[in-house]
Subunit: 225 residues, 2 copies
């Protein structure tokens, strides 16, 4: 039935928060590294929103991250000794421990690809860093738009020459799945209850009856028929 | 120095001729399968030329293959019982025996990706069939143009956020490398002296002093510093 599984990456596949904080701590001794990582990430959606709304043409997420780094650095009153190097922290995000074995199992049953807002370059380097065994890289760049715009889900299905109902979007974020379902895709939910740290209050549970719900990637792989 | 290696696929990585002939023989008993495969392949460049020249908008190679199948079938006086299935022969092309071990060795040293005229869907399924361990899929579809247009090489480098002189195009076809070099890329030549069968007369030798020349993919991997 489902010929391809496409994945949210930041949060769903990789632990961006502690990974980015690790690099922040190296460049900014004395700064609260997790707070800096949270603040950097908080700039993510507003930056993409301007592109989704048409106020700005498509620009790769790497450039938005770099702009946001300057903004957050100023707010924290610090200057990175190597801002380009720090920006590449987003290429060195650790996968959650279940992700690589789970993706390997899913790859036996279907095409697997990221459908992330990260660029092709970023997703490629992240896959090499973490050993993510993608079949190809889909997502924002081939659509020249950002999730949750339906164009991103549709462009990813079109690149595989598959109708949306033969493609499942897998995410730890209910909002991503709301958009994917509205775009006609199947949906799979895997919670990541510590993505935002120990006090996380959102996305702890599925908000709708998603097509598949699993506690981790290997369990999701087992549910695939 | 070279951060990424991008590859021609049909002929360079996979033996399209005998693989396509194998499927042709199943659907057309009594037809000279290798002659049919050659005739089908011969329609490839003229079909792309119309798109390169702007006479037709970008259309995925899968569609061009399907149109060309009808044309060649008519010329041979046959009708495929399952033309869609036969068209998918291009997703089941055997890699040359040195390719998978060679790509694995190269992947340890640099990003590896196809820069083919095949679509993302075609390259993805071909990689799954043959176990080609690509990091991502580049080439014609992300450029919306066909090689040897420089746009295809440049779009592939841009997707990796690398300058052309940090990317090496690897091909068994001198014409591909002429274009890649003119577009500013490094070049690597690996001959495939039986791509067109035992009587092959072209591309038996490097036509220029390419940056790297190797008898097979593992040898090319060893030459990478």
């Amino acid at each position: 039935m489902v010929q391809a599984l496409i994945f949210d990456v930041f949060g769903t596949c990789v632990d961006w928060r502690s990974s980015v904080a690790r690099d922040v701590a190296q460049q900014f001794p004395g700064v609260h590294a997790l707070a800096f990582a949270d603040a950097w990430r908080a700039e993510y959606d507003p930056a993409m929103a301007r592109i989704r709304d048409g106020a700005r043409g498509y620009i790769a997420l790497d450039v938005l991250h770099r702009e946001n780094l300057d903004r957050v650095s100023a707010r924290f009153g610090v200057t990175a000794p190597d801002p380009e190097g720090l920006n590449r922290a987003w290429e060195r995000l650790d996968p959650w421990p279940d992700v690589v074995p789970g993706l390997r199992a899913m790859k036996e049953k279907a095409i697997i690809a990221p459908c992330s807002n990260g660029s092709i370059a970023l997703m490629t380097r992240l896959a090499r860093y973490g050993g993510l065994p993608w079949d190809c890289i889909l997502g924002a760049e081939i659509a020249q738009d950002y999730k949750p715009s339906h164009a991103v889900y549709h462009a990813s299905c079109a690149a595989l020459q598959l109708p949306p109902d033969q493609v499942m979007m897998v995410a730890a974020h209910n909002s991503d799945l709301v958009a994917a379902r509205a775009a006609g895709l199947k949906t799979g939910f895997v919670p990541r209850p510590t993505e935002h740290g120990p006090g996380q209050t959102i996305d702890l549970e599925p908000a709708e009856a998603w097509d598949l719900i699993a506690p981790d990637f290997p369990s999701l792989a087992e549910q695939l028929t």
